[in-house]
């Protein structure tokens, strides 16, 4: 990671990044460019460097912020109409930690509204284009962040991963993307999608950058009671054995997966073997329930978390309303995207009286099975290596009209969120047409640091 110093100023780094952001504006990566503040902050850092003062580990490093992180710099819209005009009076814990180390946000990145989606096509501001092929989707929901890193606009970008929203766009754009263990990075100040599966993570160009960011952002936060006690820096990488046992999930290695992705997996398996690691096949039959369970639990939490957007206190309010009921209906009808509404409806349905046991409770039980399935898998191997998606980045508009086809693209990512285990997308070459490919490394809970370390073996 390029950090500002006496030779390369922070202002230079930031101006370069802003320049590139503008150059690639047709990709629709940013919803907001933080020009004025970013340059001002860069100058301050340069002054401190000139004076020989101590600066942070990320001094002058330009980064892109997914537009669902709260900070007073620019509106926090989550790419949703209903949050238009909302400037946060508070700063997300993750953002505060990055900024304390001198990182400089140069812009907010596009996402599927409220992070609902796998392509950024659900953004109120329109879709972000794929870094390798502008006719294809960037992936999502953190599409803007993934492309910003893939096009080398910034050193790193933040993301959120509720069911694959970091790993999938990382895979579609050929960069590293980490979904940490649930509770590793504070969710405080990040627009909630599903409270029990939301994870804050990053896009980087190298595993070392990822490690650096995690060592800064991870940690228990009194403002988020679901954060784990500090563990990240204590998890000793040196203790890792020279030869590891890597599992390949049998259920994810069949005809439903594109041949090119299977080929990429095979290549990495051969590489690992050549490096002296042992490869084992792991059967995880319960994972077949993951997608169904996910699309019950997550919409339920989504419906609940989106209840606060009612047009009463902040953001967009429909002005056509005659009474309170009207105000709610019109504001939410005009303010949410179709995919938001779909999930709100599914969520409220599965929670409604008489259906709770049949849907939500059953999904919660399936979730327990999946947690146990992962525990069992990690009793047989150190890490798992698996595809991220059944297919590489597809064409814009190809699946947007078919929600089920779209949801099926999430089948390999969502189980990690249900189990709370970490997953790291690593670049894995390209298709014949030059489309980026990726694979995900999966580890047991709190193995994040070792997982990042091990990714170096696969480079």
């Amino acid at each position: 990671m390029k950090v500002a110093n006496k030779k390369v100023t922070a202002e230079r780094l930031v101006r370069d990044a802003l320049e590139k952001a503008k150059y690639f504006s047709d990709y629709h990566i940013f919803t907001f460019l933080n020009e004025e503040v970013a340059i001002k902050k860069a100058k301050e850092i340069d002054k401190r460097i000139a004076k020989g003062e101590k600066v942070g580990k990320l001094a002058g490093v330009p980064y892109a912020l997914k537009d669902n992180f709260l900070s007073p710099e620019g509106e926090t819209t989550a790419s949703a109409h209903i949050l238009e005009g909302f400037t946060a009076p508070v700063t997300a814990t993750a953002v505060a930690k990055l900024e304390a180390e001198g990182a400089i946000m140069i812009g907010r990145t596009n996402l599927d509204a409220f992070a609902h989606g796998s392509t950024t096509e659900n953004s109120y501001f329109g879709p972000t284009l794929n870094s390798h092929d502008k006719t294809r989707v960037a992936g999502g929901s953190s599409g803007g962040s993934a492309v910003a890193v893939a096009l080398d606009i910034v050193e790193f970008a933040t993301g959120t991963d509720t069911g694959g929203s970091i790993r999938q766009p990382a895979s579609f754009n050929g960069v590293y993307g980490l979904k940490p263990t649930f509770g590793t990075v504070s969710r405080y100040g990040v627009v909630a999608m599903a409270s029990s599966t939301d994870c804050i993570g990053f896009f980087t160009k190298t595993p070392d950058d990822m490690n650096l960011l995690m060592s800064i952002a991870a940690g228990q936060d009194p403002k988020d009671m679901t954060t784990l006690p500090d563990y990240y820096d204590e998890s000793e990488t040196k203790s890792q054995k020279d030869s590891l046992r890597i599992g390949v999930i049998k259920e994810f290695d069949n005809d439903s997966v594109s041949p090119e992705i299977r080929e990429a997996l095979k290549k990495k398996v051969e590489l690992l073997k050549a490096k002296g690691h042992e490869i084992v096949e792991v059967k995880m039959p319960s994972l077949k329930y993951a997608l169904a369970a996910y699309y019950i639990i997550v919409p339920a939490e989504v419906a609940s978390n989106l209840s606060r957007h009612d047009g009463v206190r902040y953001g967009f309010r429909s002005d056509k309303s005659a009474d309170l009921k009207n105000l709610y209906e019109n504001t939410r009808n005009e303010g949410f995207m179709p995919e938001n509404k779909r999930r709100i409806m599914i969520g409220n349905f599965v929670l409604s009286s008489g259906f709770y046991d049949a849907y939500f409770l059953k999904a919660a039980k399936a979730r327990t099975l999946i947690v146990k399935e992962y525990e069992k898998a990690f009793s047989k191997c150190d890490f798992l290596l698996a595809p991220v998606t059944p297919n590489p980045a597809f064409k814009l508009g190809e699946k947007i009209g078919d929600p089920v086809a779209m949801y099926l693209e999430d089948m390999m990512t969502v189980s990690l969120n249900l189990a709370g285990v970490p997953g790291l997308t690593i670049p894995a070459g390209e298709t014949k047409e030059g489309i980026a490919l990726g694979l995900q490394l999966i580890g047991p809970r709190q193995s994040d640091k070792n997982l990042i370390q091990f990714a170096k073996e696969l480079a």
């Binding site: 669902n68 992180f69 709260l70 926090t76 989550a78 949050l83 909302f86 946060a88 009076p89 508070v90 997300a92 969710r187 405080y188 100040g189 990040v190 627009v191 909630a192 409270s195 029990s196 009194p222 403002k223 988020d224 009671m225 679901t226 339920a300 939490e301 419906a303 609940s304 989106l306 209840s307 606060r308 957007h309 009612d310 009463v312 206190r313 902040y314 309170l324 709610y328 409220n348 929670l351 409604s352 009286s353 709770y356 939500f360």
Partner: protein, 505 residues
Amino acid sequence: MKYYPTIGIECHVQLATKTKLFSEVDNDARGKEPNSCVSPVDYALPGMLPRLNGEAIKLAIRAGKAMNCKINAASRFDRKHYFYPDSPKGYQITQFYHPIIGPGFVELANGTKIRVEHAHLEGDAGKLTHFDTYSLVDLNRVDTPLIEIVSEPDIHSAKDAHDYCKELWRLMIFAGVSYGDLYNGNMRFDVNISLAPEGVKKLGTRVEIKNLNSFRSVERAAEYEITRQAKLLDNGEKIIQETRGWSDETGKTTAQRSKEEAKDYRYMPESDLPPLNLSAEFIEAESAKLPLMPADYRQIFGNAIPNDTLEILLDYPTLMQKIGEVGAKTFSLDLVHSRPSSRGSFTSLGQQPSRDTVSRESSGALKLIANLFASVLLAEEKSAEYLNDLPLAKDLAELAEMNEKKELSSTATKEVFLRLFDPQMKGRGAKNIAKELGLIQENDLGALEAIVDTVLAKPETKKAQDDFRAGEEKVIGFLVGQVMKESHGKANPSAVQEILRKKLA
């Protein structure tokens, strides 16, 4: 037909924590600007997460113990969804499936035990004020910690409904978990009532009267509802399961919402808060902080203090505490240990733990102080002010002793009692105050005899003396009065009478 009413009550109690249930802003919004006690969490900005207030957990444990309830080591929070501007999040954080407080009971003064089904922790809602064409929202009250106490349907009269609510109020203020200010909505009651023909076990259709804010309204609403439902049943009509509202002005309940219109709250686990797991030590440490409760005072002082006086005083925790202290002074009553260490739990319902009580014989001082509190102090205009700044127990004990030894007449006792509240006199001691005011009665028989002799020597008492000797019993009063006058009120009248009778015999 005769009907048997069955009543269950849900009571919301605002806990007296410094900060709110899920944020660090001031919980006490009394006298503050609207929307001035609201954090980004209470305001439900996106990305804000609840942070559970440990003090609320402690108060909930004490409240539970005050109701003889089991405290559940493992409890959890859930979301209850509804759209209304008083609920910024669009849901209330409550404990629907796993409440912190388990089964227990509340014992009324008449010995009736009302079982508590459970009580749970939750956040309060904001307040709306409606005007002609608009409404104003005040979120100061949002997520003030509440416990909702749900009774079993063990109540069968409007009077018991009243007494149950009042006893709950006493428990909460004695336990120090709530300010118990009903006027400001610190406690609110929902009353469920159904009627069944006498002798029929199956309960009738239930009607809920929501949001009552005084014991009197609970009683009146229950009375009204019992009569209303009985009339309907007598006419062969059906009771509709519905929610009704009560008006103090009209004295009537009116329909608000029927079961068909009932909201679907779409309960789900609150995954922003981890499950609450309390250690046995933590629960025990909090339980141990529970002071004596009304039932304890009834047990300890039931023999010493007349029932009606005691029931008046049981509305005032500070007075009962002071009486306890006087008891400890005069009888070395061990109040800490007079409370059984394991309070009657739900399982031991019906068994009375044995404890020390003050016997009737040794109770003069307590009875006196209780009476002074009930009939003198509470009648004072400044009583509310006085309640928070009571005299020292040793001064009260001294006062009681002087009264018992007849050094003070009952009038003088009252006088000195009130002087003990006087900031000028305070701390000087009852005896010194009595001396300064010249109120100590003359009990020295020799001195009294001398005064009596002086009076009897006066010509104006001659006729009275003759009349008494002639059997006119009444005139003794006149003679006693004369002696009192001569002694400037310091003589003990009964001693004077005794001497007079001897001399005139």
